[in-house]
C-alpha cells in the first residue's frame, strides 16, 4: 500500500465514558510517530461540530495534557448524537456528506478516526463508502466506545470495564452500609444502573459478590429477561428472611412480559422519541414497599457511573488507549472501513489485544447478555458471566489529586482556521 501523505482528523461521538479520552490519547500519541501524518486535528462535538468546520490543532496541546487524557473522563473534544441519516433524512444526509468531503479536501484530511458506539460506527462506514465513490482517498477507522457493551464482534467495548468496576464497588459499599443498619424489620435498597436494551451493566455488578453467595447484590434484574413480579417479591422476601436486608440492582430498561419498560414515563420523550426512563428503581420500590411492607430506598447512579474516572479500570483504560493506537497503525498500513475490535487471549491472567473487523459487520447490530450466562431463575449472572467480566475491572488508573479533588485534562483547543463558507 502506497504511503498516504496528509492530515488526520479524530472526533468523539455518543455518550461519553471514563476512557474514551484514553482512546483519543492513543490516536494522538500514535499519530505523532508517523511522518505520513502531517497535522493532527480534533473535530469538536463529533460529526456535528466537524460539519461546522470546528476543529482544533493537537500540535498546540502540551504533551502533559495528552498524557492526562488517559485518566480524564467524558469527551475532551465534546461529542454529539448527530447521525448522517440516509434512511430517514436522505437530502440532509447527502448535503452533510458533500460538506464533509469539502472539508476533507480543503484541509487535506486523509485519516479519519471516529470514536463511538453503534451509530458512530455506522457513520464511519458511510464515510468510508463515500471515499471510494468520490475518488478522494481518506482512510476511515472506527474505535469502539460504549459503556453499554452492546457492540458485536469485539470481546467488549472500552468504557464498559470502568463502569462495572465503579458500579460493583458502589454496590459492595452500599451493601456494607445497609447490612450494618439491618434489624429484624429488614430493609431493601434498589440500585438503578444504565442499560436501556442490554443488561451488561447491571450484570457486571455481580462482581461485587467476590464469589460469596451471601454478599450483595442479591438480585440483578436485566432488561433482557421479562420482569416476573411474583418471583421477584418471593426472592426479596427470602433474602430478607435470611440476611435481614436485600440489595437489588436493576437495569433502567427492565421490561414486563409485554415488553413495556416498567420504569418508563410515557408522557415524556427525548429528542429521539424514546420514553424518558427515570423510574425502574422507584417503580420497584413502590412494589416492594407496597406488597411486602419493607422499608425500601433507591439509588440512581445515572451519569455518575459513566464518568467516574476516579475509579476507572486500568485494564479498560489501557485497552482503550491501545485501540486508539491500533486504529492509527491500521490506517497508516493502508486499511480503511474497519473498526478496531478487542480480542481476548485466554492466557492466565486473561489479556487483550486488538484486531480489525469490517465495519459492515458491526453497524446497527446489538449484542445482548446470553441467557445461559444467567441463573435459571434469571436473577443472577452465573460463573460464565463472571469469567467473562472479572478481567475487565482489573487494576486501578492512578489519578493525580489537588486540593482533595482529581485533576483532569482540559484541552487548550487552539482552533484550526476555517476556509469553507459557513454551513448552509
Amino acid at each position: 500500500m502506497a504511503e498516504l501523505l496528509g492530515n488526520l482528523l479524530v472526533a468523539q461521538s455518543g455518550g461519553p465514558t471514563a476512557v474514551i479520552n484514553a482512546s483519543l490519547a492513543g490516536v494522538v500519541t500514535e499519530a505523532g510517530k508517523h511522518e505520513c501524518i502531517e497535522e493532527i486535528y480534533g473535530g469538536l462535538n463529533g460529526i456535528l461540530g466537524t460539519l461546522n468546520e470546528e476543529m482544533i490543532d493537537f500540535n498546540d496541546e502540551k504533551a502533559s495534557t495528552i498524557r492526562a487524557l488517559r485518566h480524564t473522563p467524558a469527551a475532551a473534544l465534546g461529542t454529539c448524537r448527530y447521525k448522517i441519516n440516509f434512511d430517514k433524512k436522505p437530502e440532509q444526509a447527502a448535503k452533510d456528506m458533500d460538506r464533509l468531503f469539502q472539508l476533507f479536501e480543503a484541509h487535506n484530511i486523509r485519516y479519519f478516526f471516529y470514536l463511538g458506539g453503534n451509530d458512530s460506527q455506522d457513520t464511519a462506514n458511510k464515510i468510508h463508502n463515500e471515499s471510494a465513490k468520490r475518488g478522494f482517498e481518506v482512510r476511515v477507522i472506527g474505535v469502539p466506545k460504549t459503556i453499554d457493551n452492546d457492540l458485536p464482534v469485539t470481546d467488549h467495548c472500552p468504557g464498559y470495564g470502568s463502569v462495572i468496576k465503579y458500579n460493583a464497588t458502589t454496590v459492595a459499599e452500599i451493601g456494607l452500609d445497609v447490612g450494618a443498619m439491618a434489624t429484624d424489620d429488614g430493609s431493601c435498597c434498589i440500585v438503578e444502573v444504565m442499560g436501556r436494551a442490554a443488561g451488561w451493566i447491571a450484570a457486571g455488578t455481580v462482581l461485587a459478590k467476590q464469589g460469596v453467595a451471601a454478599n450483595p447484590p442479591h438480585i440483578i434484574l436485566l432488561p433482557e429477561i421479562a420482569f416476573n413480579e411474583a418471583a421477584f417479591l418471593a426472592k426479596v422476601k427470602e433474602t430478607v428472611a435470611t440476611l435481614k436486608y436485600c440489595i437489588v440492582v436493576v437495569g433502567e430498561g427492565l421490561k414486563n412480559a409485554k415488553g413495556e419498560e416498567i420504569g418508563a414515563d410515557k408522557t415524556r420523550v427525548d429528542a429521539f422519541g424514546h420514553a424518558v426512563l427515570s423510574g425502574a428503581a422507584d417503580k420497584l420500590a413502590e412494589i416492594v414497599q407496597g406488597k411486602l411492607n419493607l422499608k425500601t430506598r433507591t439509588v440512581k447512579l445515572g451519569y455518575a457511573q459513566r464518568c467516574a474516572a476516579h475509579l476507572a479500570s486500568k485494564t479498560d483504560a489501557d485497552t482503550a488507549f491501545a485501540a486508539g493506537e491500533a486504529a492509527v497503525r491500521a490506517a497508516v498500513d493502508g486499511s480503511s472501513g474497519f473498526m478496531v475490535k478487542i480480542v481476548r487471549r485466554n492466557t492466565s491472567p486473561v489479556s487483550f489485544t486488538t484486531d480489525l473487523e469490517d465495519l459492515n459487520n458491526i453497524a446497527n447490530v446489538e449484542h445482548f447478555v446470553p441467557r445461559d450466562w444467567v441463573s435459571e431463575d434469571g436473577f443472577m449472572p452465573n460463573e460464565k458471566f463472571v469469567a467473562y467480566a472479572a478481567p475487565l475491572i482489573e487494576g486501578e488508573v492512578i489519578v493525580p489529586y489537588k486540593n482533595g479533588l482529581p485533576q483532569y485534562a482540559v484541552l487548550e483547543k487552539s482552533p484550526v482556521d476555517k476556509v469553507l463558507a459557513p454551513r448552509a
Copy 2:
C-alpha cells in the same frame, strides 16, 4: 483521679459513614495502650444489640483487621436507630437503663464509648447521668459521627469531609460528561444529595468548582433556604444560555416557602400508608423540563455517598481516628459525660485537634449552614463556606484492591459469653 480498672465497651449508632470505623479503630488502638483497660468489647448494633448482650471480643481480632477498619465504610459492629427514650416511652426507657447497668455490672464495663450523631450523644448523656445516680462508675464519652454535619460545638463531624469529597468529585465528573454532550439545545442534570434539614452536604459540592465560576455545580439548593421556583428557573435559563448546560445540586429536604418538602408526594400512598417514593431531584426535573422544555436528567446518590470509602478524605479519616483515641485518653484520665469535639487550628494549612465538650451542650441541638455563608440569591455557598469546607477534603485514604475491587475489613466477631437472662 483514681485509676479505674475494668472493661471497655464501644458501640456504633445511627446512619453509617465512610469513617465511623476509623473512630472505632481509634478507640480500640488507644485502649490497647492502657493497662487499666482489661477487656475491649464491641456492642453489636448499637444500644439495641448491647441490650441483648450481643458483644464481641476485640482481643480475638487480628491486628491487620483493626488497621483495615481505618479505610472500611459502614459500621463494622452494626448500628441501630434505637433510642432510650425517657420522653416518649418512659417505662421502656427505665427498663432499658436497668438492663444496661446490669450488663455493665455483670461484665465490669467501666468505659463506654458511643460513636454516633445527635440521638447517640443524647443516649450517652443519659447513661452518664445514670452512672452517678446508681453509684456504678462507668466513664462515658461520645464520639461524634454524622455525614449531616449538624452537631453543634464541634468544628465539623467526622464523616462529613468524606461525603463532600465524594459528592464534589462526582459533580465535577458529571459536569465534564454533561458539558461534553452540550449542544445548542442545552441540557440540565440535577443531582440529589442527602440532607433533610441541614444543607451542609449539598453546600459542600461547591468545592467541585475549584474556584472557577463557570465550573459545575451552577446552582445549589439548600433545605434551609425556601425554594423560589421563578428565581430558580431564571437561573437555569441564564446558565444554559451561557454554557449550554446546567448542573444543579439539591439537598433532599428542599422546602417551599410553606416549609413543605418539595420532593414529598402526598397524593400517592401504598397499601401500608407509606407516601410513594419520589424525590426532590425528580420533582425539579419535572419543573425544568415542563417549564423550560430543557432535556433534564437526574442522579440520586442516596446511600452511595455516605459509604464511598474508596474516595474517603484522609483528613476526615485521620480526624475520626484521632477522635476515637481522644475519647479513650479522656476516660482513662477520669472524664465522663463529654463528647469529643474537633477544633480547628487556623494554621497554614488548616489543621485539626480534639477537645472535650459537656454532653449537655450537644444533645438534640441542630446546626445549620449560616445564611451569610451563602450568596445573596441563595443559590451558591460563598467564600466563607469554601474556606470552612476545603480543608475537610484534603488527602486520599489509600485502600487496598484485589481483583479490581477495594478490600474492606470484616470482623471475626468472636462473641462474649452471655451471663444475663434474655431480655424481657
